[in-house]
């Protein structure tokens, strides 16, 4: 199964987009290079649904570029390559048709086999039913004999079917199976096959015909950076971001981050941060922003820019009616800006009591005044190890993000987010608490 295709893998450039048609290339790139792309084709076996899609696989220009830069893939202009079909030699055509025919024969034979086997199994089942009926009719002695047959039958059914499936696929992959004597031609004639790729009959494209590396959007450095950290990335507009970042193969893992790239000197609209943070939290993901520090004219190549990328994640903690959670959130929030809370315990504001819940602790304006700016924040450690039980969810988040905080990164962030403090602190304290839903923006800085 771990098939290794010949490198570089040709990526088809079709009408301005990058596509892959070879299943081996798709599996290989996914396994070895964490490139997933998006399947856009119809699965011929169940064509009327959109949940599972098939080949071809569409690659983002970023993905194609990454692979080309790594030397794993090359770009081939497919329309030009297929002009070669007209000039195909007659003997090549004949050979190709013969190949397809033998594949078709093989497939028909497998299908016939399977039909036969299914029939046998049904017959066997009927017989067994009969036997069971007999056994029931006869005494307990028969019951002992009956028990081993049932599990055996249950086990053999799926395995036989799986074997057949695997066999069929192997046949498709490697048509040159030795056992193709044309002794038993199926009665219904040869099954025709539409191959997925055109190589063969077309010759492998020459290096001279490769197109140059794809043009990429300004978000490419962040894309490449996250990819180099082991994340799987996929297009994210549907989820309100540029890329979705998965910690592992999206087949098995949910994504962790909504990624949006900014230029280094770009002014970020505070509203975008708030909206992104809320969106991310709403879908249980972190909102990640980042960008490359150096412009393309300051460095030699795109790859050098990737090294200068920094990424930050924002999380919006919607917290209500839990003292401990609030305490931690407040502390984290303030510490993130380099503030220290002089009083570890926040004052209880009377009158803000929800029926049936613990009293809300309010983050009053008086306590804001007490907060002082201190130069290196000393409370990072307390953030990383919240100790209460009720803070479980937050702690999970804290542990995950905060464990990885790199102190050297904190300073530029504080400078960048200072404005955020001035603009968000007051409304937070005033509006949300009077709303009885005390919500605090928790901004956590992460060095991924």
């Amino acid at each position: 199964m771990d098939f290794q295709p010949d490198l570089p893998i040709p990526i088809s450039y079709v009408s301005g987009r990058y596509l892959l048609f070879s299943i081996d290339a798709v599996t290989y790139l996914r396994r070895e290079h964490h490139i997933c792309g998006v399947l856009i084709g119809t699965l011929p076996q169940i064509p009327q649904q959109n949940v599972f899609l098939g080949l071809p696989l569409q690659l983002m220009p970023e993905e194609a570029r990454l692979l080309v830069d790594k030397g794993v893939a090359c770009i081939v202009d497919e329309a030009k390559a297929h002009d070669g079909m007209n000039t195909l030699l007659e003997e090549d055509r004949r050979r190709y048709l013969r190949d397809l025919e033998s594949q078709g024969l093989h497939v028909s034979r497998i299908q016939l086999d399977r039909k036969e086997r299914n029939r046998e199994q049904t017959l066997k089942k009927i017989e067994e039913k009969k036997a069971n009926a007999k056994a029931k009719a006869s005494a307990a002695a028969a019951a002992a004999a009956q028990t081993p047959t049932v599990p055996e039958e249950a086990a053999s059914t799926p395995s036989a079917k799986n074997a057949a499936i695997v066999d069929l696929f192997n046949a498709e992959d490697r048509p040159s199976s030795p056992s193709t004597p044309s002794t038993s031609i199926p009665p219904q004639g040869v099954t025709a096959i539409t191959p997925a790729t055109s190589y063969p009959p077309l010759p492998t494209p020459l290096p001279s015909s490769y197109l140059e590396a794809p043009a990429v959007p300004p978000s490419y450095p962040l894309f490449a950076h996250l990819h180099s950290k082991g994340y799987f990335l996929s297009p994210g507009l549907r989820f309100g971001c540029q890329y979705m970042a998965y910690p592992g193969d999206p087949l098995r893992f949910h994504s962790h981050f909504l990624v949006v790239s900014y230029d280094w000197d770009q002014n970020i609209n505070l509203m975008d941060l708030v909206v992104g943070g809320r969106l991310g939290t709403g879908v249980k993901k972190g909102f990640l922003i980042g960008g490359a520090q150096k412009e393309i004219d300051e460095v030699d190549s795109e790859a050098d820019r990737v090294d200068t990328v920094r990424a930050f994640s924002l999380e919006w903690a919607g917290i209500k009616s839990s003292m401990e959670l609030m305490h931690h959130a407040t502390q984290s929030f303030l510490s993130a800006f380099g503030f220290l809370i002089p009083d570890a315990r926040l004052p209880i504001v009377p009158g803000l009591i929800e029926p049936g819940k613990e009293p809300l602790r309010r983050f009053g304006s008086s306590s804001i005044n007490k907060i002082q700016m201190v130069s290196p924040p000393q409370r990072w450690s307390t953030m990383a190890s919240p100790s209460s039980d009720s803070g479980r969810r937050l702690r999970r988040a804290n542990n995950m993000w905060l464990r990885r905080v790199d102190m050297s990164l904190v300073y530029p962030c504080i400078a960048q987010l200072e404005i955020a403090y001035h603009m968000t602190m007051m409304p937070l304290a005033e509006n949300y608490s009077s709303n009885k839903h005390l919500r605090i923006t928790l901004i956590v800085l992460v060095n991924l």
Partner: protein, 453 residues
Amino acid sequence: MADADEDAIRAPENASTQPEVDLSDETQDFRFLNHLNFFADSSPGIPRRGEKDFEPNPTELQADVLSASRGAMHNALSYPRLHATKTRVIAFYAPDGYVPPATTERATPKASGEDGKSSDSTPKPARPLPNSARISPDACVYVTNPKGQFFKTMGQADSSSRVWLLPEEALYLIERGSLDIRWPSPSGSVAGPGEEDLSVPMSLQAAYACFMGRGGLTLERYSVYTGLRRLGYALVRAPGWCDDIEKPDAEASDASDLTPPKLHGPGLAGMLGSLFNWIHDPRSTASTATGPIIGTGIHRHYMDVYRKLAIIPWYDPVTAPERHTSDTTPPFRVVFHIYKPSTPFKKSSPPTPDFRIAVVSTRDQTTMPTMTQLGALLESTPLDPPRGEKMDRMMYMRLRHGYRNVVMAVVDQGVVSYLRIADSAFGKEKLYENKGGPQGPKRNRANQKPRKR
């Protein structure tokens, strides 16, 4: 504990939202596909959403599950496109597009009337039928033995009963394994009986290479086409398909002469203009300058007062002029007409479409449409006012339905999001005329009031 509580609260909520989860929203674990039995006669069901892990850990178990998933995916994707002899439909690729059948080809001309609507089995007369006129010059694949359900909604037959397929139709059919397309025979030689063998079947890759980009077909448009086809909708190209459509002749040019003065007419953008004028022109609100807005006099009814107070101009979609497709800017232009599976569809005379769709590629169009673009797009669709008993009763249904509507498919690298854009007429909903009492179920006036603005 807080978490336990929260979970308990969330559980029923999740259960209720579960059926609405769109499985195609995210990557599905292909192992669940294996639970479907492709080879059974019964139609396969769609698998349920599978469990996924939070993050990778170095356990063998996780590695095994992942490799099983990948194996399943590999298997599913490498399933070949097969054509059993019985159901096989062979098509031929015509690189030069639609060619009217040469006169010599018609070996058996039979005179028969009304062939335009007759079934495929009836040979067509020599004279080119109006049917041939419907064959798009972009059609590049023809089928000589059209059979199967697909040709009810696809392709156009020419006078020698060959059905010509558009690139997206051919590509969709070859991709789902329902069509065997052949390359034209080598070097243009007329296929003799011996050479017939040498027409090589087209691969999926070749089909993409040849059809994509042909006659305005982009991968984005195709993604929308095929995605909706898979769900059972029928799609046909709309007049806005070509980017460089011309206005229809002299009559239209007259209309365009008239358009500039109409700028401040009741169009969506013109509405803004009149609002602007209203703010800056004190005379239109002369009555407010000289006295109370409602005027001096006796008011016996609140309705009169409200009516007088309604001085802010509003936009009425009904009076907006219908605009031609050529007024729209290319990505924001209807390219497909969509028919629900339940709509009786006839190729020769397509009914009024159920939906109209515009396709936008996020990599080519990175910004939201402007008001002008959106207004032109909406006004290029026919008026579709909310009708029916339910609509009359429920105001929010009316507002949501709007007076014109269009679907915008936003394609981000193969991932399609559909947005329905409707032209709602808030100004037409006179809340004060609604004499108290709830309008819809569970809605009271307290809820409606703030919505008025």
